[in-house]
Structures are given as C-alpha cells and as structure tokens.
Subunit: 329 residues, 2 copies
C-alpha cells in the first residue's frame, strides 16, 4: 500500500511515527512517502535551515527532542550564545549545536549544486526515517506574514519564523504570502506520490502554514483533488483549539474559524471540488461535527485524537486508514 | 611605543599576552600590532577557519582554552560528532561548537564581500584583545605540504592542517608551498605596521610555517629587512627541541637544524641582509649560542624562555624589549 502524507513539523511528524508503528503490525506491506513543508525554511548565518523536514527526519529517525518536539535530543546551544555575544542578529532563533551540523551539511551540498531533494535523501541516509521524505519543492519558497507596519496604516511582511518564533504568533497576521511560489515546481516525485498513492493523508499539521503551504505549490492541490486515492485528514483542532502550536492565529488570519469542522470545510469536500473524502475529529469534544460534515460530503469519524503516546497515535493512524478504506470509490 | 609582532598560533599568542602584561606596568604608552599568520587557514564544511588569528584573539581576549592552547574554554564538540555521524570528511579537524560561531560570523561576512581584515576587526570588537590584529593578507594563501604520494616515487601536496592535525607532522615533509602566495598582497596596514614600528618582535612562533609564512607575503620580508626599528626574535627552540608544537619537523623539511642558533641564522642577521638585530635563547640550555650568533651579527641574550606563567612570559617580553633598546641604531 502506497501511503502519502503531506506533513508540516511536530504534528505531522508524530502522526507519521504513529502511522509507521501501526504499519509494522499490519498484514500488508506499505511504502510511506512524506511530502514535507519547506515554506518555513530560512537562511540564517549562512545556513539553510529546514525546520519541518528536520522535525520529520529526527522524529522518525530517533533523534528528536521529545520534550521540545523540534531539534535534537541532548542538544546544546553554545553557538546561539556565541552569536549573541558577537551581537549577531537575529538572536531569537533556536539554533542548536547538533542541529547546526545538519544545516552545515545541507548548506554545503546546496552550495555544491545538489537540489534540496537530493540533500534530504543524503541526510536521511543517516537517519533512516522509514519513509521517503520529499521536500514539497526544490525551489526556494518562503512563507512571509503580512503584519502591521511601524507607521500607522502601513503593512509589512516578515519571515514566517520571525512571526512564529520571535513573536510567538502574537501579533495579528493579515495574510500569508509565499515568496517564490509562482516560480516553484514540485520536487521530483511529489506529484507522482500523490497521483500514484493508494491513500493520501493530511495529518494534524497546521492547515494554513504547513499543509496549506504544500498545497500552494503549483500542481499539488490539483494532484490531491484528482488522485484516485481516498484523501483523509486528521483534525489539528480539538475542542476549538489547536492541540499544539498556534494554528488558531493562522486560521484567524485567513478568516477560518478555529474548529474541527471549519478546517475540514476549508479543505473542502472532493465532491465539491475540494480535497477531503474523510476527516477525523476528536470524539470527546467534536462529535457534533460528524453529521454537519457528512452533509457537506466529508465522511467524518469521531475518535480519540490526542497523540499522548505512540500507541494512541498509532490508533489514530489506523482509524485514518480504516476511514480511507470505507470512502474508497 | 609602536610594537609590531609577527605571530603564529599558541606561541605567538602567549608571548603577546606576556608582552601586554609587561606593558601595563611600563611607564610609557604603547600600541601593539599583531600580524597574524593566515597560511594555516582552511575552508571546511563551508566555514572559513583561521586557526592562528583565532588563537591570538581568544588568548588575548580571555576566551582561549588554557589546557589545549587553541579553541575556546568550556568548549563542546557536538557538531564534530554529528558531522562524523553523517559520514562527512574530514573527521580529524577539531571543530568546537563555540568556535563554530566565530567561523559562521567570519564566513558570512566574507561571503558578503568584507575583506578578512575587516572581518577580523569586527570579531575583535567582541574580544577586545588589546592589540590591533591584522591578518598577514586579505587574499587566500594556504600552506600545503609536499609529502610522498601513494605511488612509490611520487609526491603530493596536502593542506597544512591535514599534515599537522591529522598526521601530527608525522609523515616526512619535503617542502612547504604557499598556494596563492604570488597573487597575495599584504593586508592594509601590514607593511606600515612594520616600517613604522619602534620595535619589531618575532615571538617564539614556528619559524617555518608561521613567521616564515608571513615573511613570504610579497613585501613583508623586505619591510622587516628595511624597517628602522630594531628586530628582535625569541627562540622557539629550547635545548634542541621545540617548546611546544612540531617545529622540528618543519625545520627538518627545509634543511635547518633544530637549534636556537640555527633558527636565528635561518632568519639571518640584518647586517648580512637578514632580519634579526637581536635574539633571545634559553639560558639553561642554549647560552653557548650567544657568542656564535654575536659573531654572525646577531646580538643574543640568554634568559629563561619557558612561558610557564604570565609573569615568566612578561619577563621574556621585557627582555626582548630591553634587547631591542640595546641594539637600536
């Protein structure tokens, strides 16, 4: 079974870890492709940093900091301290020492002319994540956030990381713009992984700046819309709030309510030119969305959606695959 | 008093620290310029690394590892471990995490078009070494070592750091070649610091691959030869062996005996178109060189030359300045 996951950072990575755990006990062989968001990528201190790809790679490869959810376990931050001591800006980015080695290898390979997809494959040679990890694009696409400018009545765009990490999504976002999007092409294998999949999964990643960004790469949304595979998503919103992260600030910016049903309707039903065949919501808080979404053409199941441990996460993945079978046309 | 020091790494840095300590108690104001060797520089992992400049900067700025003599105190080596885990070569270079921040700042400023001298000044803004630290050249000049090739009868050139760090100078060197030397110009201020000095000092740095390299930058040797200032050197050889480092291997390669007298004669007497007016040798082991060198035109004093602590090092610097006064023409 060919399963393709469109993933952002922590939520997508943890969901995929649960998926792999479930698949190890499943009776059929499967091949999982993860299409990773690279809109969060940022070039800092001469290093090309791909936070979401690294979170997927480290989480599935056993190198992630479980506590933080991003970056490496046993991490130190000497370089960050030293750069601050030199007065180098920005000083708000969480640059770990172990992590920096990854950035150095990546940056040097990119400088040598390798595309990001080849670099990612080379890095995964070490981490053996158990999935084929593809960046959404080999081209540089960066999410910038439109916020109020310093002068009243003006607006400015800042890098997503500045908004997310420095401001903790705490200043109102008017919009998200993908710099480089129009010239970007999907990385080799991305469209094929969607069109040739047996199941496409949208994990509980940020629907705006993670999955939403991947979908904006030219050709990707169409590929999801037209694939023969069932497309099933897992709500990142539980009880009207993100399980983790600040998806509410992102949803608000694009005028979508922070609810499990609103996110599903934002993705849309495939029967109405949208993306979703199926959708999972949290059973304790969002079961009332099941009927509403069914009426809109999205088969919805209410199951426990908190990824509290690997077993619970595997159960969510199993429920997603089960729902995919029941909506397969 | 304008004092100019031609320095390599550990020996030159420690000597200069003693010099500054001495000058703090001296009755006259002074300005110390250190012309640093950049022949050891190496580009690794996309980072431009200047070991000797950093050793001077860290030693005088209070950031050096006293135990190792190079790199930072409280250093960790997570990046080095991680690069090795990725299988990245070379794996023998001692890349510290704190140190890497310096390399990142430097590499990024160089990539932005700043010359190394400006980068060095910017880094020294933090470290406040108490000297004006000038790279010998803003141009890339790298010492390579001619060694036996893999096939019998052949020779190859390897980077100095590979010979020094990886092989610990343990494979015979046939010669040292300075890649880029012919096109190199002295960095701004270098020739002026020599010609306009009141005293020029050659600290107990490696006479071949440190001081010898600086002297090979076009114009530098002539500037030392023709400056009105007295030129006084401190022997890096004590009792027929280097006090530290592997200068013996370097001297052997260029056919110079590993002795305090032989190094002085290698630099040569200014009266015979060489560089030295004065020379300090170690009193307990090398006093017999005093008369021999005097006969060759180099005023020589035998004093304790072991830089065991700051006071002992300051006394060596004081002796060098004292000798400079006595040979001033």
């Amino acid at each position: 079974m060919r399963i393709t996951v469109l993933a952002g950072g922590i939520g997508g990575a943890r969901f995929t870890r649960g998926l792999l755990h479930h698949l190890r006990t499943a009776p059929i062989e499967s091949h999982v492709t993860v299409i990773g968001n690279t809109g969060d990528d940022i070039r800092l201190f001469g290093l090309q940093i791909c936070p979401d790809l690294d979170t997927v790679m480290y989480t599935l490869g056993g190198g992630i900091s479980e506590e933080r959810g991003w970056g490496r376990e046993d991490e130190t931050f000497a370089i960050k301290e030293e750069l601050a001591a030199y007065g180098v800006q920005p000083d708000w980015f969480g640059l770990g020492d172990r992590d920096t080695a990854t950035h150095l290898v990546r940056s040097q390979m990119l400088a040598a002319g390798y595309p990001l997809s080849a670099v990612t494959a080379a890095l995964c040679d070490r981490w053996q994540p158990g999935v084929e990890l593809l960046p959404m694009s080999d081209d540089r696409v960066e999410t910038h956030v439109v916020v109020d400018g310093d002068e009243p009545g003006t607006r400015k765009a800042i890098h997503f990381q500045e908004w997310w990490v420095r401001h903790r999504a705490g200043i109102p976002a008017h919009d998200f713009v993908l710099v480089g999007r129009d010239d970007a092409r999907p990385a080799p294998g991305v469209l094929e992984a969607i069109s040739g999949a047996d199941v496409v999964l949208l994990p509980p990643s940020n629907p705006v700046v993670s999955v939403g960004t991947i979908l904006q790469v030219p050709g990707v949304r169409d590929a999801v819309r037209t694939t023969a595979a069932p497309v099933v998503g897992v709500s990142p919103i539980v009880g009207g709030a993100p399980v983790r992260g600040m998806a509410d600030a992102c949803l608000t910016a694009i005028g979508v309510k922070t609810s499990a049903a609103a996110v599903a309707l934002h993705y849309g039903a495939r029967t109405a030119d949208g993306l979703l065949d199926g959708w999972l919501v949290h059973d304790e808080s969002d079961a009332d969305a099941v009927d509403e979404l069914a009426a809109a053409g999205i088969e919805t199941r209410a199951v426990p959606l908190l990824m509290t441990d690997l077993a619970a996460t595997a159960a969510i993945a199993a429920a997603a695959l089960h729902l995919a079978e029941s909506v397969r046309r």
